[in-house]
Point group: C2
């Protein structure tokens, strides 16, 4: 959010496994992200991104051209359907149907690979909303390798690997970067059935 003049009042990390009661009272779907601004609640990835882009000053992070904008929305939908719900399941080697889960996960990644091919970022020469909304998951990919040996092979996803390197180099990404042990701490708390959404933040 460093690209928008976005003064975060308070960030509440919500445990997405054991969802707290109050969360349902502001968002019936109890999904993250959920924003509260001027007493109004906004949720759903696509809806939040557009709301923030239009309401706050700063560089525009969503494209104006209708087909370009649709493309970003479709990729976010593929991510939400094929990748994020399967992410942590891959960390567990004993997960039932893990091979099929990995297959769907990589299918989703293949769409990203194809779409980032022509440019440095999904947003073009500078990162846009899709880059920033997906990045936190890529930062966390290393824990899957530590926990279960799973990684996205650079040979299979060369463009996505180059994109990750370019993202890692951005000053605003560096500013918020968390290391693998921190992400692993969350993964372990999650595995023990009591995920700690603030894991590593006390440091």
């Amino acid at each position: 959010m460093s690209e928008k003049a976005f003064k975060t009042g308070e960030t509440v990390n919500v445990c997405t496994v054991n969802k707290p009661e109050w969360f349902f009272s502001i968002n019936p779907l109890a999904k993250v992200p959920t924003l509260q601004h001027d007493g109004k609640v906004v949720y759903e990835s696509l809806v939040c991104n557009e709301y923030v882009d239009r309401v706050f000053p700063g560089r525009k992070l969503l494209p104006e051209e209708p087909l370009e904008k649709a493309r970003i929305g479709m990729l976010q939908a593929i991510w939400d359907a094929k990748i994020s719900p399967n992410f942590y399941k891959i960390a567990d080697k004993d997960q039932e149907g893990r091979d099929d889960i990995i297959k769907v996960f990589k299918e989703g990644m293949s769409f990203l690979e194809k779409e980032v091919a022509a440019k440095t970022f999904f947003g073009g020469e500078e990162p846009g909303f899709l880059d920033y909304s997906l990045w936190p998951w890529f930062e966390r990919l290393s824990v899957l390798e530590v926990a279960s040996g799973f990684k996205l092979e650079e040979a299979q996803f060369p463009k996505l690997s180059a994109w990750q390197a370019a993202m890692r180099d951005r000053p605003e990404v560096k500013m918020h970067a968390k290391d693998t042990p921190t992400h692993l701490q969350y993964l372990m708390s999650r595995k023990q059935g009591n995920p700690d959404p603030d894991a590593g933040l006390q440091a």
Copy 2:
């Protein structure tokens, strides 16, 4: 789509139970709606609605004001999560966990009831994109009653009942209206495990 100067080249009704192979080749999520325009593919309800609204001339069906627009997106998300996936399950009295399904379905409807309270349509004094994207399901609600006795009680959903009456009165809605026997024909073909997405269209 009568409100937009939208010349439909060809409408393909896709069976959403037994999805055809070619459908996955244009949309990896194989969900309806999916549009093809100038050789480009666009999918996801929110994404399609905005694309059509921006690319085709005619009355604007999505609000400009950021919070109003977010509100429409959030309601569509509630519909997609709580109502549409449960719709046909309610028709089957033997459906496992049917009481819980009805509970979730009505929860979703309660959000719509609250949101339409102050206006005639979700779009304001004239229907907007949410009105047109939800309406086909409401037109079909009568089959749930015929098939299994389920109905949304007017006493519990008075505003939504008034909205349905107002929608039914619109000339563009009348022009595309299908009757209960037609919707029932689809439901029966679906129940027999071989849903016919063109049911009633041959007439």
